[in-house]
Amino acid sequence: MKKTILNIAALLMLSSAIKAQETVYPAKEYKGKLFIKNGTVHVGNGTVLEKTTIAVENGKIVAVGSSITIPSGDVKVIDATGKNVYPGLILPSTDLGLREIANGVRGSNDFQELGDYNTNIRSVVAYNTDSKITGTLRANGILLASITPEGGVISGSSSVVQLDAWNWEDAAYKYDNAIHLNIPSFLQRFGRRGGGGIPPAILAQLGLGIRGGNAEDPNKVAVEKMEEIKSFFRQAKAYLQEPVHKNVNLKFEAVKALFDKKQKLFAHADQVKQILAAIDLAKEFGFDLTIIGGVESWQIADVLKANNVSVILNQEHELPAMEDDDIDQPYKTPAALQKAGVLFALNDNDANSRSRNLSFNAGTAVAYGLNKEQALQAITLNSAKILGIDDKTGSLEVGKDANIVVAEGDILDMKSSNVEHALIQGREVSLDNKQKQLYERYKYKYGIN
């Protein structure tokens, strides 16, 4: 009768062994019983259960309660006394596994395909399970991610993966959950995000040039572009109504699930007009719409709610859009959406810390108006709903996959949080990663602790 108790000491022992990332193995399937005992359980739906035990069997949560008896026998037990238990965090849109080195190394990049209407491009087939970044996410409690292709007008389809796998088929959690559409900008864009250089007025301020001519009205350009996008979908719709085709059109075939509502439309849009254009398009075709980005979503939260449109806020840790905006506007946008009743999730799109600060984005939202459980829900259950995986994950409820994080301290606050255990589908996954290994290596060099 041996209980396998994984505790901090064991974990430390495990990680103090000097080894390369290549020996961080995906955890083996575990069909047996596992109990996370006596923790503070944050269900993910707003509820907190004190001194509660979660029972897992066959990779699923089978019971959640305060009076669960842990049987003797070959069971695993994680003592969560004094700890917080959370659903596995979900990164709702990321280039993880497609873009190893953010800049300057083209060979490491597989996130952006050529072409405009890449409906048939699928991110999952290029998803690299061996990315060194994945381990740093698991260590912060992120266990699932939706892998998003970029570029073009329609970038292709994302798939949801779990972050402890041998290969992409192994990782796939939900194939092709959404098609990603980039709504054209209603602003004349300059600089890195949209190309086109520096506004002439700014160049003049820099003492670098001459004022240029007037560009075309960006509103007009964008509306024309939207019409072109609609035209694509109108043709696709007509094509799909015909059962037999002389020539198969892969681009049209690829949006069938969108029309069948088995797939969502994720429209990347930040400006009010972009969001309205996306809603207009979704209405015409009856698509299930989510806005990704949503910088100005707070301005039309009611409209989003009325149209049943959900939002993934891409980057909460961002400067206010306008000089005159409230200085904390991006921080309090989640609270504005919450108040209006909009279904929203938080993302961490940071290209420098590489998405590991997802839970701290949620923490900031707490400082600026959400309560902690709402903020947690925005990185767990809400994300699962938006990604279409809430039947399987997103909360600690009976019947769902055992995607669970046990942490010392408050996972939303970097001051105190340390993830100690993470389970994906009942498998206790390694929290080791390249950074921890280099840490060990140099602690060894200097003889420090």
Binding site: E100, I101, A102, N103, G104, V105, K132, T136, L187, F190, G191, R192, G196, G197, I198, P199, A201, I202, L203, A204, Q205, G207, L208, I210, G212, G213, D270, Q271, K273, E296, H317, E318, L319, P320, A321, M322, E323, D324, I327, D350, A351, N352, R354, R356, N357, F360, G363, T364, A367, D413, M414, K415, S416, S417, Q435, K436, L438, Y439, Y442, Y446
Partner: protein, 1040 residues
């Protein structure tokens, strides 16, 4: 006395007065004296003297006499100027009339183009393409009939023209706007010397920043000085020679913005030059600083157009600052006057030259006095250019440059009839010249009928008249100064006789009224008479027809002149603008700067960063900007009390690596640019200063970017929101300089780099070479201080060698870090700080031996190749090895959350909370050599404090108060008020712009232009900028 028909006098483009001796005549010699007497005029001689009923006598292009008792010689052609005004014509001191400025091809930027390291100008000129003092406007000047006409129409007679291109632009030339030969219109061929900070058409990569332009100009001053000794090593340098030759001329600097004005003036101060500064139009926003320059300014009247903000989405993108500027720009000239600053006005920068006089009037409506406006267009520019003996007033001996107007020039609805330049007349608009108002006896004869009929014509104005016979008939007049047309219906109208629009009266049915007035004419059925003729003084003669086609002849003779009426329709002065000038001019600026206060923060948790550690339930007393007491139950009369119960007080955050508050950050066009200085181009209006105050930051080290191995000199600032650039500076600190290693300096992201170095091997040698040169330079200076060329680049490096300047070095991988330290060892200096230093954990022991500080990110990695081994445990390892470790932002957004970044060092590596907090407070203070004044809460230190709502390392903590030098520059409470103010003021201005759109007619507004903010960055990584933000990185600029 007969009136002269002026239009017969005008000479079209050919001067008989001043034919040039050397030019052969094709035809018969036709020399004339051009003697004219302008009589009965109101003559405004100058700002002081206005003569009534006076005479101006000119001959051979000059003024012979002005006065009320002028004897008129017989040879004079008389011009009766009754009811007319004569002014000296205006002088535009900032023009490019007659010059074709070289243009760069407009268009996008080539991000991948190689750098152009040398000048494309062929010949023995300066090394830099933007330095072209050898340019002489007079050699390029060619008369431009069109442009001359447009300038004359708005009253100008003389301009100073120059080539508006480059940093040292060469000489300007004074020309009149006469359009005979170039030779004769030029009053002074070299009259001024011109400068700017804009490299213009230069395609050379250097300079690529404001501070680079400043450094280039400073170095050019030094080089020119040195060149006076004809150093053999320089050979012949035409540009430096010209630079010296031009030094005695009036020096004019194109400022174009309030801050650029100040930057220019400082360059002048350094080299003993008082520039005349061309203003940009927003100087009213900092008029005190502008006044302190003691410069004379050239003020444009380029008021921005209102924007179309009907669409609330478009409106949202326009900042309050831009809207306020729209409202306040017309007050700019008045602000100069009020501040007692000498200034000229210029027509340059106008979208439409025709707007000039209207804009002068607008400036007058906004507080500029007419006298000052006049002076600014005449005497001031003339005096500045030393040509007041020739132009600028109407005095004997001066050029006959004057304008004749229908009334006081700055009043509404005044016509400029003609503009005389060098004694030659250029008609502008003479239709109103001859006064036709009055009562005339009109006789109309019909040859066919042999009849004649008389009317009395009462001419009310130039378009309407009453024709009185039996009835009073409404007549319509048109008069272009030459030909008069008069028509009238022969039956009375029921509508009022006077139609201001001057339109034809409707042709009423003749029915009931019977047309009796015209009964005597050939046919009583005629309904209307149309007459046309010439005006000859008081008599009109001509021909006409009636509606039946009968031919008529006619004569009208003045019987009674109209009594002169003054224009009483003076429009009400425009509503005064309501916008307030705030410091800064941003929405979040204050009308008055917050004041230093005595403050007690009571009963709070005090993180001292000293051996006392964290003190509970403690009071801190601040007086005169310093921390004076830390203890329990403190009190101080009159001090502001802040209850700190349940809150935490820490020292202000110090960001060791920041790029905010500057107009430019990277001078990346060369590998060594130690001559450039961030301090030269601080931008105290960057909204990120305020945003970072809200995150508890009180000091920021503003670094040059990482575009090159030896970058520019840095500036430590305190976030004193609202002060000017000097007010931001941290006083008495050890100067620093930015170095950089690795991918950025070898321009990894450029597809075809041609700038040395391209590898880390080369980077090391750039350092080696720079310090070898610096050592040699130091020795040469010692041996021959006079003969050695002073080199600003090497000066800074010599300071490093002498431990008077310290390095903060952008660095990532262990090889380059070690290589840099070895160069330091070789030349006897140390790398004070390695910043970024993401592989510092690999060589922390070596860094400790070398004596470096480390300033790093908490958890950034994998954003490029050289950060693949970056780990979140870096700070903890370096700290445990014994280095002084800082956590910095290098990011305008993250700087608002540096306390949270410090908290991550607790999470990753288990550093204690107190030590972690020091990494964003005391440790950067140490690294920057200012720990004696800031970085901890200790008696005697600067009162740079933050009161947090929560544990300072917690993500839930917000700064409630951020205090710098005992001044509350941010408080959460006040911030909320400010937001309301912004909303109210925005709404007011949006409504005003919408009203302008609706009432201003077509073209009253332009499309809304988003108020782009630009974020300058080191070019190192992506940034979390806002939607209306432009991230400008190094290559964007270098390769443009």
């Amino acid at each position: 006395m007969r009136k002269i028909l002026l239009f017969f006098v005008g000479l079209a483009g050919f001067s008989a007065i001043r034919a040039q001796e050397t030019f052969p005549v094709n035809g018969v010699a036709d020399k004339r004296t051009g003697t004219y007497a302008f009589t009965n005029a109101t003559i405004v001689k100058d700002g002081q003297t206005t003569l009534q009923n006076a005479t101006l006598l000119i001959k051979e292009g000059k003024i012979v006499a002005v006065g009320t008792t002028v004897a008129i010689p017989k040879e004079a052609v008389l011009v009766d100027c009754k009811n007319k005004y004569i002014y000296p014509s205006f002088i535009d001191i900032y023009s490019d009339y007659g010059i074709t400025a070289p243009q760069r091809t407009a268009g996008g930027f080539n991000f991948n183009a190689p750098a152009q390291l040398t000048s494309n100008t062929k010949g023995s000129y300066a090394w830099n393409q933007a330095i072209k003092p050898e340019t002489d406007a007079y050699k390029q000047f060619a008369i431009d009939e069109q442009k001359a006409k447009s300038l004359r129409e708005i009253g100008f007679g003389t301009v100073l023209t120059h080539v508006k291109d480059g940093i040292a632009r060469g000489t300007g030339s004074i020309v009149t706007l006469a359009t005979n030969r170039e030779n004769l219109v030029m009053l002074k061929e070299k009259a001024s010397s011109h400068f700017s900070l804009n490299k213009g058409s230069s395609t050379q990569s250097y300079p690529s920043s404001v501070m680079g332009s400043i450094a280039l100009l400073r170095q050019t001053y030094l080089d020119a000085q040195w060149y006076k000794s004809k150093p053999s090593t320089e050979g012949i340098n035409i540009s430096l020679q010209a630079f010296n030759d031009n030094a005695s001329l009036p020096q004019i600097f194109e400022g174009d913005d309030k801050w650029t004005d100040l930057r220019a003036d400082r360059i002048g101060d350094e080299f003993g030059v008082q520039y005349i500064i061309k203003a940009g139009g927003n100087e009213y926003q900092r008029i005190n600083e502008i006044a302190a320059t003691k410069a004379t300014f050239i003020v444009p009247l380029n008021f921005p157009q209102a924007m179309d903000v009907e669409d609330p989405n478009d409106a949202r993108a326009v900042s309050l600052a831009d809207m306020k500027h729209w409202e306040l720009a017309p007050t700019n000239a008045a602000a100069f006057e009020k501040a007692n600053i000498s200034f000229c006005l210029t027509a340059s920068d106008l979208r439409d030259t025709k707007q000039f006089l209207a804009n002068v009037r607008k400036a007058i409506d906004n507080g500029l006095t007419e006298a000052k406006a006049f002076e600014a267009l005449t005497k001031t520019p003339a005096t500045l250019l030393n040509i007041f003996d020739k132009v600028g007033s109407l005095e004997t001996g001066k050029l006959a440059n004057f304008i004749i107007t229908s009334g006081p020039i700055f009043k509404d609805n005044i016509t400029v009839f003609s503009n005389w330049v060098q004694g030659e007349k250029y008609a502008v608009n003479e239709s109103g010249w001859n006064e036709i108002k009055g009562t005339y006896a009109l006789n109309i004869n019909s040859a066919t009928a042999g009849t004649s009929i008389s009317y009395t014509v009462d001419v009310k104005n130039s378009t309407t008249a009453s024709v009185i016979g039996k009835d009073t008939l409404a007549g319509k007049i048109s008069f272009d100064g030459k030909i008069i047309k008069l028509s009238f219906a022969l039956t009375p109208q029921r509508t009022p006789a006077f139609n201001r629009g001057g339109g034809m009266m409707p042709d009423m049915p003749s029915g009931g009224f019977g047309g009796r007035g015209g009964a005597a004419l050939a046919n009583s059925n005629a309904k209307q008479i149309r007459l046309t003729g010439f005006v000859s003084g008081d008599t009109w003669n001509g021909y006409g027809e009636d509606t039946l086609g009968n031919k008529l002849s006619w004569t009208a003779t003045l019987t009674k002149a109209a009594t002169a009426t003054t224009d009483s329709t003076k429009p009400k002065p425009a509503a005064k603008p309501l916008a307030k000038i705030t410091y800064p001019f941003d929405g979040y600026g204050n009308e008055e700067l917050p004041k230093q206060e005595n403050i007690i923060i009571k009963n709070t948790t005090v993180w001292t960063n000293e051996k006392e550690g964290v003190l509970q339930n403690t009071d801190v007393l601040v007086k005169a900007g310093k921390i004076v007491k830390i203890g329990k139950s403190l009190s101080e009369d009159g001090a502001k009390v802040i209850d700190g119960t349940g809150k935490h007080l820490t020292a202000g955050i110090i960001d060791e690596h920041s790029h905010i508050a500057a107009a430019s950050i990277n001078e990346g066009a060369q590998s060594v640019t130690s001559e450039v200085r961030i301090a030269d181009n601080l931008n105290p209006e960057d909204i990120n200063i305020y945003r970072q105050l809200s995150g508890g930051v009180t000091s920021s080290h503003i670094l040059h970017g990482s575009a090159n191995t030896i970058g520019g000199q840095t500036q430590l600032i305190k976030l004193r929101w609202g002060t000017d650039d000097n007010g931001l500076k941290f006083q008495n600190w050890d100067p620093f300089i930015k170095f950089a290693l690795g991918e950025n300096v070898k321009r990894t992201t450029s597809q075809n780099n041609n700038r040395f170095p391209d590898t880390r091997m080369g980077v090391e040698e750039v350092l080696n070479d720079a310090f070898a040169r610096a050592k040699d330079y130091e020795a040469a200076m010692k041996a021959d201080p006079k003969g050695t060329r002073r080199d600003l680049e090497l000066d800074a490096l010599v300071e490093i060698l002498n431990k008077k300047r310290f390095i903060t070095c952008h660095s990532y991988v262990q090889s380059e870090i070690t290589a840099a330290m070895r160069i330091g060892d070789k030349y006897g200096f140390k790398f004070n700080t390695f910043t970024h230093i993401l592989e510092g954990y690999k060589v922390a022991d070596k860094m400790k031996v070398h004596g470096s500080n480390a300033s790093t990110f908490s958890d950034w990695w994998a954003y490029k190749m050289e950060v693949q081994d970056a780990i979140a445990y870096n700070a903890a390892i370096m700290q445990k090895v014994g280095l002084n470790v800082c956590i910095n932002s290098d990011d305008a957004e993250m700087a608002r959350r540096l306390n949270q970044e410090a908290a991550k060092v607790v999470k990753y590596g288990g550093v204690s909370e107190e030590e972690a907090l020091k990494m964003v407070t005391l440790n950067p203070a140490k690294a920057l050599h200012v720990a004696d004044r800031v970085g901890s809460i200790k008696t005697g230190k600067d009162a740079d404090l933050v009161l947090w709502s929560d544990h300072p390392l917690s993500i839930y903590a917000m700064s409630l108060y951020t205090i710098v030098d005992g001044t509350i520059f941010f408080s959460r409470e006040k911030d909320l008020e400010q937001r309301k103010k912004i909303a109210t003021e925005r709404n007011r201005l949006i409504q005003k712009m919408i009203a302008e759109k609706r009432t201003g007619g077509p073209g009253a507004v332009r499309p809304a232009e988003p108020s782009w903010q630009f974020i300058l960055s080191c070019g190192d990584h992506d940034h979390k900028d806002g939607l209306y933000t432009v991230d400008i990185q190094e290559e964007d600029i270098i390769n443009k």
